[in-house]
């Protein structure tokens, strides 16, 4: 293959006219993947704040061992049920769908997704679902946890349970439509010169995630349909007294919801591969192993669901699920070690994006270790349904996914808006988030092991001290979010110009203006032979050519070589 080091074919020199995005553009139907991506992100972030507010109320209640903030135990139950459902279905999943939408066509040098209209439809299913979901406050919100185990969810949960199930149904359809679009886009729209093995790892992560979504989400739809029928049509799929079985729900629900954990974390891992390589100026270590481990996690992820049922599954069935659950740690470990290998010998530029990526590694590994511990049945028996599990999945979904979302915001905000975020505020945000997060969720490990079950508004007085630590740290974590919100608002107005390629990155989304024009690129961009080929003259020549085409902003965050780079070689 001829090596090409010119980012853009033929065409104009100089930047094309930069589009100016108005807030009102976000409220209208658009088939532009960039606008849809922003619509996803803004909507998801709104629900992040909603879910976060509920988390703060939960922690207020748990400052004392007795019920004092809430008026009843059942009101407390609605709170954590809605918190979980909101964060999972209305924040993390749509947030990554947003980044996927915005970035995937740009990374592939494409002008849009494969099915733009379908893309818009997938997004516009979310607002009505969100409204339906929030409307459950008006009737009686669900109070059976996000896991909605019957018979609690069929006998003792309000009509909001039905509304929430319907909303989850609609969100599932949205996810499936989006995932099909991603798969087809990756399959068909890669530019010449980019085989599967030359794709950015974020694209690999989106591919693995989308395959999981398409395969797993129909099981959620099936389970929800049975639940809704049991609630409104008098059926008894889960009613043991009429021949149904409550374990049927648990099996089908977790057959979706365990892969869903990977749906929520794989895109974050994709983000990490981009950010770590670019900001430490070093090729990703073990590209193929990282790409393949995403696929491995995707496949193995379908074989571990019953480890969520180690206290309800019939005992002889537990062993096989313990073995698969242990083995899924291996591909995850490969990723973590590959990322550490990427940092080793690099030139680490500790800006907001890299700080949050390092924070991801630091916190996610704790969730990984507690995950391996949970796979061991005898230990799981002790901590199942306790704060140990609450800690575990927050280390994975906050320490993992949310840290990755923050890293992605700091990394791609310049591309999306054309403005840099304030780095000093980014550091404040990181420190508050990192410390607030650690002291919120680490003590939960001890609480769970010592005997505090999850989902309780009342707890034993001896647990109060740690719960206070957790609550105060959680308030710090809650406040830290507003540092980011403030940074975004201020930077949108007064942020420094970003230029096309502030980070001197090799992937194609940086080979165009920030924000990109409606057609993404002027002419067809030509990908560099290796998306992570940092540290060679050839790569620097390619990057210099981008700088030459689009110009460099005055205080570009990533230093440029002082001497002007030699004119790029035209191939070899």
């Amino acid at each position: 293959m001829a090596t090409i080091s010119v980012p853009l074919e033929g065409g104009q020199v100089g930047a094309p006219e930069r589009p100016h995005l108005k807030a009102s553009d976000l409220l209208r139907w658009s088939v532009d993947h960039k606008i849809i991506g922003i619509q996803y992100m803004v909507t998801a972030f709104f629900f992040f704040l909603v879910g976060g507010t509920m988390a703060m109320m939960i922690r207020m209640e748990l400052l004392t061992p007795n019920l004092d903030v809430m008026s009843s135990g059942s009101q407390y139950n609605t709170l954590f049920s809605m918190h979980g459902l909101t964060m999972i279905f209305l924040f993390i999943i749509p947030m990554f769908a947003g980044f996927g939408n915005y970035l995937l066509p740009l990374m592939l040098g494409a002008k849009d997704m494969a099915f733009p209209w379908l893309n818009a439809l997938a997004f516009w299913l979310i607002p009505p679902a969100g409204i339906l979901f929030m409307a459950s406050w008006l009737v009686h919100p669900p109070e059976a946890g996000w896991t909605m185990y019957p018979p609690l969810s069929t006998l003792f949960s309000g009509d909001g349970q039905t509304l929430a199930a319907l909303a989850a149904h609609i969100l599932g359809i949205s996810s499936i439509l989006g995932a099909i679009n991603f798969i087809v886009t990756i399959k068909n729209m890669r530019p010449p010169g980019m085989g599967y093995w030359q794709m950015p790892l974020f694209a690999w992560a989106i591919l693995a995630t989308s395959i999981l979504v398409v395969m797993a989400t129909p099981f959620l739809a099936g389970a929800l349909t049975l639940l809704i029928l049991d609630r409104i049509a008098g059926t008894s799929f889960f009613d043991a007294s009429k021949g149904g079985d409550p374990l049927l729900w648990q099996n089908v629900f977790w057959f979706y919801s365990h892969p869903a954990v990977y749906i929520m974390v794989l895109p974050g891992m994709g983000v990490l591969s981009e950010v770590l390589s670019i900001h430490s100026r070093k090729p990703i270590f073990g590209y193929k192993m990282i790409a393949m481990s995403s696929m491995g996690i995707g496949i193995l992820g379908f074989t571990v669901w019953a480890h969520h049922m180690f206290t309800s599954l019939q005992p002889e069935l537990r062993i096989p699920f313990m073995i698969t659950s242990f083995f899924i740690a291996v591909p995850t470990g490969i990723k973590i070690f590959s990322w550490l290998g990427t940092l080793w010998g690099g030139k680490l530029h500790l800006n907001g994006a890299l700080l949050f990526a390092l924070g991801f590694l630091s916190m996610f590994v704790i969730g990984g270790i507690s995950g391996v511990m949970l796979a061991a049945i005898p230990f799981d028996i002790q901590v199942h349904d306790t704060y140990f599990v609450v800690s575990h999945f927050h280390f994975v979904l906050f320490g993992g996914s949310v840290f990755a979302i923050y890293a992605a915001i700091y990394h791609w905000f310049p591309k999306i808006t054309g403005k840099m975020l304030n780095e000093r505020l980014a550091r404040v945000h990181f420190i508050l988030t990192y410390l607030g997060f650690f002291f919120t969720f680490m003590p939960m490990n001890w609480l769970g092991m010592l005997g505090m079950p999850r989902r309780v508004a009342y707890y034993a007085p001896e647990f109060q001290n740690w719960n206070r630590v957790v609550s105060f740290a959680a308030f710090v974590l809650g406040i830290s979010t507003f540092v980011l919100v403030y940074n975004v608002i201020v930077s949108l107005r007064q942020g420094k110009e970003a230029g096309a390629n502030p980070w001197r990155a090799l992937t194609l989304e940086w080979a165009t203006t920030s924000p990109p024009p409606a057609t993404n690129f002027i002419g067809d961009p030509i990908p560099y032979e290796d998306p992570y080929g940092y540290g060679t003259d050839k790569a620097n020549a390619y990057l210099d050519e981008i700088d030459r085409r689009f110009g460099v902003a005055d205080e570009a965050p990533m230093p440029r070589p002082t001497a002007p780079a030699p004119a790029p070689a035209a191939g070899d």
Binding site: S72, G73, S74, N77, E143, Y149, P151, L152, L155, D239, A240, G244, P246, S280, R281, P283, F285, G286, M289, S312, P315, I319, M322, F326, V330, I334, F337, S338, L340, G341, L343, G345, G346, K347, L358, S362, V365, I366, I369, V372, M373, A376, I377, P378, F379, I381, Q382, H384, D385, W446, L450, G451, R454, V456, A460, Y532, G533, G535, T536, P559
Partner: protein, 460 residues
């Protein structure tokens, strides 16, 4: 491929780092006893050994990753204005094989160890005693079959009053129910569990055991209590519900009481419990107080009752302080019932009349007739003046053990027809009248047993 030859210094560094990590893992794992409750069962000792191994390995990996991160940030941080790139390295096959193989070996080892421990936990023990567990929103009931021949004085099963007799099994053992789980050091117990409404999970943190109670099935879990050094006996450990079961899930707490040995288990708890069952108090007020304080019913979850020390965290039911006065006053006017009938209705059909300002939250408890009458008798006495607002005069006749023979016979029949509990109906109808007469006359009526918790036993 730059690692075909490792220099000596590299090998030494790797060895030193490895030793430090493993030592760190051991150090972290030494916190195991502080991270877990007392080791009060044989299972807890086996599980904790596994936890220790998990913490050694997990701790070492934790230190490795955090150490690598900290070292990288310190060592490889770009100087301000440094525009150079890092090393152009794409990977290292040897290294990648190593960090795939080592975790794979570790998880295989952990899987084998966990499997072994799990098998030990699962193995049936000799002479296991079966205890039946009922989980219901939001309390527990533990039911034992106690051999009646443990009683110091010989009890003639046939001479027991009707309402006690329902608790006697065919093999001569007596069914007793307790809101707490009792066991003794060295006793192997098999819990056989069923929920009455939704899924619950029985969790005894000090025993490291947990098992869901699932509607439509009977699930089980086993444990053997062991002596905890420095503990005073009888020792108490919490029993919690771990699966979300509704509004007061967090209050679904009981305790397991571990007695020193079998002798004290029998003499301090089992025999007194059986005695209470066999000799129910004749005074309905005392009987009612005993039932209410036994914890068999979840009343203290919602009702304030200062005389019994009830002060729930969320008193969603009307206070029971002075309930006798209100029953005889406003409530009687509102419902047209006598004070006694009003309280009886409130206990039996809570939804029939809901006190203004409250929600119809109280469940239908299906309390057996004699227990309900005793509870009514107790609540009648809850007045400001101390003078009972009402009395249950027919309690002795219906439920007491000293009732005259003829009356007892007719009452037994009456109970049978009114169908208090299905068990009672079967028992009562299958007993020939003449026999019932004999039993009733020969039944002892002892004042000494009046403090007893009486019929707390028949439970659900």
């Amino acid at each position: 491929m730059n690692s075909t030859k490792l220099s000596l210094s590299t090998v030494i560094i790797i060895a030193v780092v490895g030793v430090v990590l493993v030592a760190g893992g051991f150090l972290i794992s030494s916190a195991t006893p502080q991270l877990l409750p007392a080791q009060a069962s044989a299972e807890s000792i086996q599980v904790d050994e596994l936890v220790r191994i998990l913490l050694i390995i997990g701790g070492a990996i934790f230190l490795l990753v955090q150490g690598m991160l900290a070292f990288s940030v310190w060592r490889f941080r770009a100087k301000s204005g440094d525009s150079s790139d890092g090393l152009h390295i794409h990977g290292n096959t040897t290294l990648e094989i190593v960090w795939t193989a080592i975790p794979a070996v570790i998880v295989v080892v952990l899987a084998v160890l966990s499997w072994q421990v799990w098998n030990q936990l699962q193995t049936p023990k000799e002479n296991e005693v079966v205890v039946h567990v009922d989980g219901r929103r939001f309390n527990w009931a533990f039911t034992y079959d106690a051999p009646i021949n443990l009683m110091p004085e010989q009890i003639d099963v046939n001479s027991l009053p009707e309402n006690v007799k329902v608790d006697v099994q065919d093999d001569g053992s007596l069914t007793i129910t307790s809101p707490e789980l009792h066991t003794y050091i060295g006793q192997s117990v098999l819990l056989q569990m069923k929920p009455q409404d939704v899924i619950h999970a029985l969790w005894i943190p000090a025993f490291r055991i947990k098992q869901d109670l699932i509607p439509g099935r009977e699930t089980s879990i086993r444990f053997t209590a062991v002596e905890v050094p420095g503990e005073t006996y009888p020792a108490e450990y919490p029993v919690r519900c771990a699966e979300l079961c509704g509004a007061n899930h967090g209050l679904m707490v009981s305790k397991v009481i571990v007695h020193k040995d079998e002798a004290s288990f029998i003499s301090d708890w089992l025999v007194p419990m059986m005695d209470k069952v066999i000799h129910p108090p004749t005074d309905p007020v005392l009987a009612g107080q005993a039932i209410l304080t036994s914890g068999v019913y979840p009343c203290p979850t919602c009702h304030v009752e200062t005389n019994l020390g009830w002060s729930p965290a969320s008193p969603v039911g009307p206070s029971l302080n002075g309930v006798g006065d209100r029953a005889a006053g406003g409530r009687s006017t509102a419902t047209g019932l006598s004070a006694k009938d009003y309280i009886y209705q409130s206990v039996h059909e809570p939804a029939a009349f809901v006190v203004p300002g409250f929600q119809p939250l109280m469940p239908q408890l299906n309390i057996p007739e004699c227990q309900a009458l005793a509870i009514v008798a107790y609540l009648c006495t809850q007045t400001d003046s101390g003078t009972p607002a009402c009395t249950v005069d027919d309690y002795a006749a219906k439920c007491g053990s000293s009732a005259p023979a003829a009356e007892a016979t007719s009452e037994a029949t009456a109970e049978a027809t009114s169908g208090i509990t299905s068990e009672a109906t079967v028992e009562a109808t299958s007993v020939p009248a003449s026999e019932a007469t004999v039993e009733a006359t020969s039944a002892p009526a002892e004042a000494a047993t009046q403090e007893a918790t009486a019929e707390a036993t028949s439970g659900s």
